[in-house]
Symmetry: C2
Subunit: 330 residues, 2 copies
């Protein structure tokens, strides 16, 4: 099979490619070739048992999606997106990539199907818990209203709606996944409002100080990068009939307060590591985070076989294994 990954230079995209290069298959079918797309040229895996092509294209350019699907990929992982903060600051760019780009991708598939009559790929669409807006319960269930309060969330929910309608019409087989906040994010601390959830784990484990800008009773919904890759692959392999008419699913994860995150870090890595977290309250970040989902009861996804960590300790251990070669600065 031929696969396409849009947004393949992002953290989740890179990890997905590494995983696919390692296993070589999706749903028992051998991957013959992969096209990796991003706005900058993505780096392919070090070794892959299939042909890898990379391409740097602006996803919002009207002809980009058609070029990307010209070789009729059997599975498409659509990860390309302008992230939340940038979509909020740059209204036009957010809509151009997240809405128009996604629509053009879906339409490019419809065009091939209309012309050839035998094209109906699997479309894995990454949505986000930004689909939900306050007021929110402690646990969001599978029937909870999507009422986003950001442009990014709006664009993602529109993508979900199109995914459902195009799937219903037999244009592709869409499965959408609302990703939890990915934690622990590897790399450098960044300015994203959600950055501290990862920073307060990653930096202390690397012997560095980390800033905690919110109070410890802030609760949030997390899954590891490893789980995110698992979600994507499972969404590509799952029996479509079992998903039913509502095509986007809340993914499993771990609900943890910051206090629980810190306690898990203490158990896994000890008090010395925890001491590297410095409290420096930031009312703006506290306010932003106060509008975010605190937890989910993702029954449908669990029943469909999606799995994630059960505790925040597991999330920390996954980070130490996958990113730190099993070691940290005690």
């Amino acid at each position: 099979m031929h696969i396409l990954v849009t947004g393949a230079a992002g953290m989740v995209g890179r990890k997905l490619i590494e995983h696919l290069a390692h296993v070589g298959k999706i749903g028992g079918q051998e991957i013959k070739s992969a096209l990796l797309h991003d706005i900058i040229e993505p780096t392919g895996p070090e070794f892959a048992p299939f042909k890898v092509e990379t391409v740097a294209l602006d996803f919002s350019a009207p002809d980009t999606p058609a070029r990307l699907v010209a070789d009729r990929p059997d599975v498409i992982f659509h990860l390309a997106a302008i992230v939340s903060g940038e979509a909020e600051l740059d209204f036009e760019k957010g809509y151009a990539v997240n809405l128009d780009g996604t629509r053009n991708l879906f339409e490019a598939i419809r065009t091939i199907g209309k012309e050839t009559g035998d094209y109906c790929p699997r479309m894995v669409f990454t949505s986000s818990i930004a689909a939900y807006g306050t007021p929110l319960p402690d646990e969001i269930d599978d029937e909870f209203l999507q009422a986003p309060l950001t442009s990014y969330g709006t664009q993602k929910v529109i993508g979900e709606l199109l995914l459902t309608d195009f799937t219903r019409k037999g244009i592709f087989v869409g499965v959408g996944i609302r990703l939890p906040t990915i934690c622990v994010r590897p790399g450098k601390p960044n300015k994203a409002a959600s950055g501290f959830f990862s920073n307060i784990i990653r930096e202390p484990l690397a012997g560095e100080e980390a800033i905690l800008p919110v109070s410890e009773d802030v609760s949030h919904w997390h899954a590891s990068p490893r789980s995110a890759v698992g979600f994507l692959v499972h969404a590509a392999e799952i029996d479509s009939e079992a998903v039913g008419p509502r095509r986007t699913l809340n993914m499993p994860g771990v609900a943890a307060t910051v206090a629980q995150q810190i306690e898990a870090l203490r158990k896994v890595a000890g008090e010395n590591v925890v001491k590297r977290i410095r409290r420096e309250p930031d009312p703006m970040i506290e306010r932003i985070v106060g509008n975010w989902a605190r937890g989910f009861a993702p029954k449908r996804a669990i029943a469909l076989g999606f799995t994630a960590e059960k505790t925040f300790e597991e999330i920390i251990r996954a980070h130490i294994e996958d990113e730190l070669g099993g070691r940290f600065v005690a």
Copy 2:
């Protein structure tokens, strides 16, 4: 003030215009001029105390929305749409008008605002109870999930999401209203699956036979054309702050089973009229209607002052007054 009505040749559009011509004002402000748009040239009101221009334009043509808002309407009633059945049969046309047309209209307003810095009109957007998809409760509350199962419903929910985001960004002041099925629809019987809800009242009152294709325990959600006009005007006048961040509201109406509709007809018009309803079960219509909303608890709209009939008898009496000059064929 200057107003724009898109889809002004439709039944609700025509009744809205007649009403506005009669009262001459919106929210206490005098209407100076109105631009009436539709795919066919709309007929203006017989008399209006303001200037009326009519224009026939394809709403899906990329430059149509910009032409319609060039004179900076203060209030826009956006009614133009491809209806449910046609949007289901003609995928491209439905998306071109209901999604792209709406998006282009919203963008045309944003462009003027960006260029001039002082344009932020009221946008009244008509959505539909097709925003909801099964499984549905007997009473849909204001927090119930929008999970449409038709292309039309999908396009309407996307319009709602854009309306909310554009309003949040200060581009316009949007108020969306999810209209009940309008009953009693004047005119000839039509092929719409929902047509019989009106046919079984209108035709017998006119001395004609009507066909009832579903069982009498089918329940549905109705409001009169008079109420629909009231909703639109109230949405144009209402205090925006009071609406809050979720900009689209379920409108009030009357939940009635077909048996209750018939009983109301009997009370208002007598047994002779009721006898003109002929049972002719149609399993396809029964199945389609089985997926529709049966009732609502539209608390937010009621609290915000939207009003409709309280009983189906009132709906029938409104029809006799507004369409039949107070008389029917007994």
